[in-house]
């Protein structure tokens, strides 16, 4: 499988990107004005106490030394300690990763489940009323703010019909599932608008492609032409789109976690920014960026598997 050789060497090529990510997060966080030590101890703190805290967190060293420390710690799997929570950032992220991960996974699955049938219905009935309706709805869907959509769903399903909880993460599997429905639906609806439009366009292109014509010329019924030849080919660009959108999707989860008070990494990030909790913001931003890199890598593998022509 020569085509999949990239799985071995791609991680090497990703190293500079990961290094760049670490530099950017480091520089960004260190440029935040305000002294975190003072912030932590309050305005009435003594200079000695501040100095002690600064030494404890390595804040008194020159910037590049701090960066080297930072890199060294990264290799040891340490991202420092949260000034606010006073626990290890890696552990903190570990505690918070669950809700975010299930939100991302759940909404991707839900979005695909929404987008594929809609795009199929639109593309196969091109120019019909169904097509126009789906096109307009999905175009309008591009402009739905996720946070607003979440609130609207809460008003409808929680306040009005009392079907789902307003916020929180719940306990136990069933309860969590129950709590995750609305947040996932929120992200999924926003994501499915992009997916539907893209999938519809590539399906239409594939439906009039030469190989689909050739399949019809062999007497294949339209359904077979669609499911066997058109769909597999139109999924390829959609996988790429999904990968490109993953960054956007994670950004969406930050807002949605705030709306639904989900104890995930996004909420951690927003709170970290407000409280100037260096280590947490740094850790979460890095974790998000690395996750996006990893997902893109997975998408490359998936694309290579779906399209034998792809050489990465």
């Amino acid at each position: 499988m020569d085509r999949f050789r990239f799985v071995l060497y791609r991680p090497l090529q990703l190293l500079p990107v990961l290094l760049g990510i670490s530099i950017i997060t480091f520089v960004l966080i260190r440029s935040i004005p305000g002294d975190p030590a003072r912030l932590l101890l309050g305005t009435k703190s003594t200079p000695e106490a501040i100095a002690r805290i600064r030494a404890q967190f390595g804040l008194d060293e020159p910037l590049w030394v701090q960066y080297l420390y930072f890199l060294k710690n990264l290799f040891n799997g340490e991202m420092g300690t949260s000034i606010l929570y006073r626990i290890d950032v890696v552990r903190l992220i570990g505690e918070r990763i669950g809700p975010t991960l299930s939100l991302v996974l759940g909404s991707v699955i839900l979005a695909i489940a929404i987008a594929v049938p809609l795009a199929t219905a639109a593309a196969r009935n091109r120019g019909s009323l169904i097509d126009h309706t789906i096109r307009i709805i999905s175009t309008a869907g591009l402009g739905f703010p996720a946070f607003w959509l979440g609130i609207m769903l809460i008003i409808l399903f929680s306040v009005k019909f009392d079907m789902f909880p307003v916020s929180g993460y719940g306990d136990g599997f069933a309860d969590r599932l129950h709590h995750m429905v609305l947040p996932c639906l929120t992200v999924a609806l926003a994501l499915s608008a992009v997916l539907t439009r893209n999938l519809r366009a590539s399906m239409i292109a594939e439906l009039s492609s030469d190989h689909a014509t050739a399949a019809r010329a062999r007497g294949l019924p339209e359904g077979m032409v669609f499911w066997r030849h058109v769909l597999p080919n139109s999924l390829v660009p959609t996988i790429n789109l999904l990968a490109v959108n993953i960054g956007w999707l994670i950004g969406g989860t930050v807002v949605v976690e705030t709306v639904f008070s989900l104890p995930g990494m996004g909420q951690l990030l927003v709170r970290g920014i407000f409280t100037r909790d260096y280590m947490v913001v740094q850790g979460v931003a890095m974790a998000f960026a690395c996750a996006a890199v990893l997902i893109n890598f997975l998408a490359d593998i998936l694309t290579a598997a779906a399209d034998p022509r792809v050489k990465i």
Partner: protein, 323 residues
């Protein structure tokens, strides 16, 4: 007398792509592999061969549009390099295969031609419009076409604009890359006639690249047949067509579909297709398809061009001993 254009040992290599581990040599494809020939003023040379034989790359390397990896090109006896490049640019022009893609879709035909005149200061600014019209008439269009955008013209008309643009620099050499193969038969004949006409009127030298040998027969004084980056046969057109020497040339000429009412498919056709330039066979690159291949053809270096009859051929059937 020095030749207008001299090409000596020209090589063009491309990186084959793909990942290489550190220390591993990058894979290369030699699209053009040691090509030498000379072209006199006013002469037309045909470059023929199947797709992937390197004829287009050769043309671009001659015009310094593609980086060459070895060899040199002399224009009017002078080496073409960075400093003397402008001399070549002012004296040589190119015509392309795809008539639409060869013209900037956002410019009017008149502006496309005027731009060349302006950049090369061919005529005073107040004469530009008149000269544009002259050029359009020269290629069989009219001044009315100057206001049109390429998208509103037919393929044949676009190709005429492309020729007019090439003529605007008043070149001594025109390189025409498959310039009729995208056109319908009836339009193709018009363009060929136009080229024949302007060539004799303006005393142009021409390198005419084609895969269609019949067109080359019409237009060219001399012909070079290429196979996998090398010239395998070279000679006067009449000689090459009446008595081809290289087995590849023989097969190519045999395969031309002639409009013969009693025609039938040629016997003893070439088997197979050209191998990938990525892994060329040793010895003569043509040996896997050659009906007359001998044992000595299958190893060693590729044969060099040697006199064979009136022309020259790179085949061990002529001259026997390997170089």
């Amino acid at each position: 007398m020095t030749a207008l254009l001299e090409v000596a040992g020209l090589e063009v290599a491309f990186a084959a792509g793909g990942f290489t581990w550190p220390g591993q040599a990058a894979r290369q494809v030699k699209a053009v592999n040691g090509v030498s020939f000379a072209l006199n003023a006013g002469e037309t040379l045909g470059l023929v061969g199947e797709s992937g034989c390197g004829k287009t790359t050769l043309a671009r390397a001659i015009l310094a549009l593609t980086e060459k990896s070895a060899g040199e090109v002399l224009f009017e006896g002078e080496r073409v390099d960075r400093t003397s490049l402008m001399r070549l640019r002012r004296n040589a022009a190119m015509i392309f295969q795809d008539p639409f893609n060869a013209l900037n879709p956002r410019m009017r035909v008149g502006d496309i031609l005027a731009e060349v005149l302006r950049v090369h200061r061919k005529v005073p600014p107040d004469r530009i419009a008149a000269r544009v019209e002259e050029l359009l008439v020269l290629v069989g269009l009219s001044g009315e076409h100057a206001r049109r955008k390429p998208a509103t013209l037919s393929g044949g008309q676009c190709q005429r604009v492309g020729i007019a643009r090439a003529l605007a620099v008043e070149p001594k050499l025109i390189v025409a890359d498959e310039c009729v193969s995208a056109l319908d038969v009836s339009i193709q004949a018009q363009i060929i006639n136009l080229l024949i006409d302007i060539r004799s009127r303006m005393k142009l030298a021409m390198i005419f690249i084609a895969h269609d040998l019949a067109v080359v027969r019409r237009l060219c004084d001399r012909v070079c047949v290429m196979y996998l980056g090398r010239i395998v046969e070279e000679g006067a057109t009449a000689d090459v067509f009446s008595a081809p020497k290289h087995p590849y040339t023989q097969a190519l000429i045999r395969a031309i579909p002639e409009i013969d009412p009693a025609g039938s498919l040629p016997r003893n056709m070439l088997p197979g297709e050209p191998p990938s330039p990525l892994d060329l066979p040793p010895g003569c690159a043509f040996h896997p398809r050659c009906p007359q291949a001998m044992d000595i053809c299958r190893s060693g270096d590729a044969p060099v061009l040697r006199p064979a009859g009136e022309q020259r051929a790179a085949c061990l059937l002529y001259g026997g001993v390997r170089h």
